[in-house]
């Protein structure tokens, strides 16, 4: 009976994605804010329809802000919108790798955790000389606090000259990258802040821009961002799809190590733990891999690291296939969220990211587990066995942590010994 319980609990701990079971009390998460220079991008893909939303974390003078994105077609006004940073932050919090905790029961009086139902439920620009530079302004819009131009160019030097001449600061050396896009017949979505409108809007931060277009080529251009960047950058891609997991086809996808028990003191040090672990992973893969941190059916979550997303929030991001009211939640198998995290620079990621939507529906989450030991007087044999096995488990946790982060085993042991867990509230 006890072995069955142990097996059941182990099964629960080991296969969270296949059992709608109790997956621990949520404690902490490792979201994008942990990383410097992290960009967040949301990509929605449905057939050829692609919606790209770029979180804007620009904190300088709005006058200085400018963004240039290659797009596959001339974008119409109705294809552009501003979104809400809060929705992207919500996606981030919801899918971040999480720390959960369990409290071991008295082995003599095991409580069967019921299959707890998982939360189920959803430009004025100068025109003279443009032609000479080979630039054509295909369209001009004002959307929210932004002035937007859609440009087509005949050659990249002209484009670079035009952009710098019109106050769009692009890094030197970008013309080679721009040239590649020009030759492929791509257009350029160029945005600047309209200061008057921004002042009127009352927003202190710049809002994310959302662009919709149709294309066979499912990609995310990253090359422009790597020109003259000082050091590697972090990118979080939140991909929303209809049929399955999204992955890169020109770079390797690596899953995070997950479902690992860690020493209790990590409760206060989850952020440094995660950063150290990610650094180690990046080094192991020679900064050439894309890391899968989360892939889950948006119809349910377990544990839920944040409030589930509503249909309205998802619609804001471009998910237009959900049924039901804005306040409702997506049903099962209606939409999927893939969270990818990569650290990149021009040397290790020379190509733009190319994606595909697979039919993989197997859920995955980065999950790290703290198990509070039961501390009582043994009144049966199972309890004796449990207490004997406890030091082995502690050692395993310490070794896991050392292996994941590269921290010294001695230092970890010190911290583990010094940590005093807060008292549990109430019987479990």
């Amino acid at each position: 009976m006890k072995t069955l319980t142990a097996a059941l609990l182990t099964l629960v701990l080991v296969l969270p994605q296949s059992l709608p079971a109790f997956c621990g009390f949520y404690v902490a998460k490792a979201d994008a804010a942990l990383f410097n220079k992290a960009s967040k991008v949301v990509l929605v893909r449905d057939g050829r329809r692609t919606v790209l939303t770029m979180a804007n974390d620009f904190r300088g003078d709005p006058k200085e802000f400018a963004i240039v994105i290659p797009v596959p077609e001339v974008i119409k006004r109705k294809q552009i919108d501003v979104a809400d940073n809060a929705v992207i932050d919500h996606l981030d919090a919801y899918s971040a790798p999480r720390l959960v905790e369990y409290f071991d029961d008295d082995p003599c009086h095991q409580i069967f955790y019921e299959m707890a139902p998982a939360s189920r439920f959803g430009a004025a620009a100068r025109t003279d000389g443009d032609a000479a530079l080979g630039i054509k302004i295909e369209a001009r819009y004002t959307v929210g606090e932004y002035d937007i131009l859609i440009l087509s160019a005949k050659e990249s030097d002209g484009l670079e000259t035009w952009l710098t001449g019109n106050g769009y600061r692009i890094p030197k050396g970008a013309s080679q990258v721009l040239g590649s896009y020009v030759k492929q017949g791509m257009k350029f979505f160029v945005a600047k802040v309209n200061l008057e409108r921004q002042a009127k809007s009352g927003f202190t931060f710049l809002r994310p821009l959302r662009v919709t277009y149709n294309t066979r080529k499912f990609m995310l251009p990253i090359r422009l961002g790597t020109v003259n960047a000082d050091g590697p950058q972090e990118l979080f891609v939140f991909a929303l799809s209809r049929k399955g997991r999204i992955e890169t086809t020109n770079y390797r996808t690596v899953k995070l190590p997950t479902d690992l028990g860690l020493p209790l003191f990590v409760k206060d040090e989850f952020a440094p733990f995660y950063r150290a672990m990610f650094d180690r992973l990046v080094t192991r893969e020679d900064m050439r891999a894309v890391f899968l941190e989360h892939f889950w059916d948006l119809g349910w979550c377990d544990p839920c690291a944040a409030e589930p997303l509503t249909a309205g929030e998802l619609r804001q991001l471009g998910v237009d296939w959900l049924k039901g009211p804005d306040s409702g939640r997506p049903g099962e198998s209606e939409a999927y969220l893939t969270r990818l995290h990569l650290r990149y620079d021009a040397g290790h990621f020379p190509e733009d990211l190319l994606f595909q939507e697979t039919r993989d529906k197997e859920n995955f989450q980065g999950r790290y587990v703290l198990r509070h030991p039961w501390t009582g007087k043994p009144t049966c044999e199972e309890a004796e066995i449990y207490l004997r096995e406890l030091p082995k488990r502690r050692n395993q946790e310490i070794e896991s942590l050392a292996r994941l982060t590269g921290w010294s085993v001695a230092r970890i042991r010190e911290k583990a010994a010094a940590y005093k867990a807060p008292p549990r509230n109430g019987p479990r």
Partner: protein, 280 residues
């Protein structure tokens, strides 16, 4: 015949090692149930079709190669799709024939059928570029030891495809790192040395094989860069396979046979051999 015995034995060992390496070191999501289903269906289908066609001996080596190739490349969550792919692959060898030769590389056809069915996919990025060196060694080893594997097709294809990729990047003004990265993929090597190099589904004469390699490379490049197909190589080979019998009629050569102790008498009429050229 140059080489060491039956080249299929080396290929089975190589594919088997790659399957292990992939799942253990590279973290491929190879579910044992799916792999077992593919193996069982391939061998079972081979057995049934051999009986149905009253053939004298059961060729399990080719079936094993097909099964291992599918296991390595096919990704699906559905057992049914995996079995269907394996069954289609093996059946195509017996059903889709021209002039005594099967037209499609079985694993290639199996992959196409599975992807078209809708709940399977191929992960071209799964190899990354670090494992590239290891794969290069495996493939190079195959090339050295077994010229019977039609490595001329593999090399011709790689050379022409690389030239097209470099050419395009040169035209776009991309730095060298970009085409190098595009080519540095294990999927390309696997395709070249284990799929297009199949001696049974490539033209019999060397000149014919060179034409075939050029066609597959050109179509693959067009599918990848103009139509933005994720699996241009696989589709290209399937699309060009029906041209093999046409090339064979135009440029006839000596038909390839796997080395066997008792070579079965061919059911097809003897193939005319051009006066000057025989093997390889």
């Amino acid at each position: 015949m140059r080489g060491i015995g039956d080249p299929r034995l080396y290929q089975i060992a190589a594919l088997g090692s790659l399957v292990l390496f992939g799942s253990v070191r590279l973290g491929f999501d190879l579910h044992p149930a799916i792999v077992s289903a593919i193996l069982a269906t391939s061998l079972g289908a081979q057995f049934l079709m051999t009986r149905a066609h009253h053939l004298p001996r059961l060729d399990f080596r080719s079936a094993l190669i097909t099964a291992l190739s599918l296991s390595l490349l096919l990704r699906t969550g559905s057992l049914l799709t995996a079995c269907a792919a394996a069954a289609a692959a093996i059946a195509s060898k017996f059903v889709l024939r021209w002039n005594g030769k099967h037209v499609f590389n079985p694993a290639n056809l199996g992959l196409c059928v599975a992807v078209l069915a809708g709940d399977a996919w191929i992960s071209p990025g799964q190899w990354g570029s670090a494992a590239f060196l290891g794969l290069l060694i495996v493939c190079a080893g195959g090339f050295v030891a077994h010229s019977a594997l039609r490595s001329d097709v593999a090399l011709a294809f790689l050379a022409i495809f690389s030239a097209l990729v470099f050419g395009r990047s040169l035209w776009l003004g991309d730095p060298m790192a970009v085409p190098l990265h595009k080519l540095q993929t294990g999927a390309l090597l696997i395709f070249a040395f284990f799929m297009i190099s199949d001696p049974k589904t490539t033209p019999d004469r060397r000149a014919g094989r060179m034409i075939f390699a050029a066609l597959v490379a050109a179509v693959a490049a067009w599918l990848t860069f103009s139509l933005h197909s994720r699996n241009g190589l696989i589709w290209s080979l399937a699309l060009c396979a029906p041209l093999t019998p046409i090339i064979d009629r135009w440029l006839p050569g000596l038909r390839y046979r796997w080395p066997e102790r008792h070579t079965p008498i061919p059911a097809s009429p003897p193939v005319p051999i051009a006066p000057r050229e025989l093997a390889p």
